[in-house]
Assembly symmetry: C2
Homo-oligomer: 167 residues x 2
DNA sequence: GCACGGTTGTAGCGATTGCTACAAGCCCTT
DNA sequence: AAGGGCTTGTAGCAATCGCTACAACCGTGC
């Protein structure tokens, strides 16, 4: 079912297709999860964990040599093509969160917090304000990813290159 | 109909509710626009123009005193609460674009290009690489807006403050 | 042997989806 | 007055939505 959501998105996540993907029936999904909302909730946390694990493998370990290196590495890792399905889902989550849906907003916020922690840990030791630098890197990377999503990777590339050169 | 989409989002933009909002019938919408896809397309361009006009009024005129001022002013203007409905719609457009929908991607790209032009025009004359600086500002502001959407405005604020102080 | 609770399949509910067939109105021209 | 094209209302199509009623299965404990 997670694979189905990654491929077809949240809007295609209706009970019968999900059940078919899971090799069961919509009847069973309701029986096990109670209702669709609970199902989607569990799917979301499962996918958040899967995304987190995948990022764990893709993100560099240790410390960056400089702020610029940190931004470069984080941007390269999170913009890797293997994460495209996750990002497609991510923007749907953001859209729901932006409409005030608390479940999605909390889920998205948790992911952002975790990602921020990662960037912070990867910041070079020489950095005085590690948290502040990480917040700036995260904001830039997320902006770049949005620009990727709408086909403006050129802007994202230029912005990142400039920031990397500066920091 | 535009007001209805701004309030209820694209997922609530089915023919009958839209027709009711317009004071007509679904039958008439199909008659005038041919099919739903064309309707949404026209609605999208209409809303893009409305958003553009609203930004035109909200964005400062003239030139910023510095890169930092430019970022500050653009961020303050685009994050104003009056644009919240547009942003909620924006993330749905981004989500569709990210899934490969060409109509939404092109529409979103056009808006980004226009916004980039604005930032460029507002860049101080002393700036040597006005385009590059504008790209970086745009990326930061869009990242901040995404963080706003998922309830992480604290990260966005800190990142912007840091970038403003630096530039 | 037999009842019992946990699990599953079948069928169907009412609502909503985009869209269409049909016919009745409308105004303009002849 | 009669016809013709543009517009519109009514009704309905097949498909899908989340969900449920009902009955049949299953292994376990008595």
């Amino acid at each position: 079912m997670a694979a189905h959501v990654l491929e077809h998105g949240l809007s295609g996540a209706s009970l019968r297709p999900l059940a078919k993907a899971a090799g069961t029936s919509d009847r069973m999904l309701i029986y096990h999860f109670g209702n669709k909302e609970a199902l989607i909730g569990e799917l979301l946390t499962y996918l958040a964990n899967a995304y987190s694990d995948a990022l764990d493998e893709a993100l560099p370990t240790g410390r960056a040599d400089s702020r610029g290196d940190c931004l470069d590495a984080i941007a390269a890792a999170t913009r890797a093509p293997q994460f495209a399905p996750y990002l497609a889902l991510w923007w749907q989550i953001v859209a729901e969160a932006s409409r005030g849906n608390a479940v999605y907003r909390d889920s998205a916020r948790a992911i952002m917090r975790k990602l921020l922690g990662w960037v912070e840990d990867f910041m070079p030791l020489g950095e005085t304000d590690r948290t502040g630098a990480a917040q700036q890197v995260l904001t830039l990377v997320e902006g770049a990813q949005m620009l990727d999503a709408v086909g403006c990777s050129d802007i994202a590339d230029a912005a990142l290159a400039r920031a990397i050169a500066a920091g």
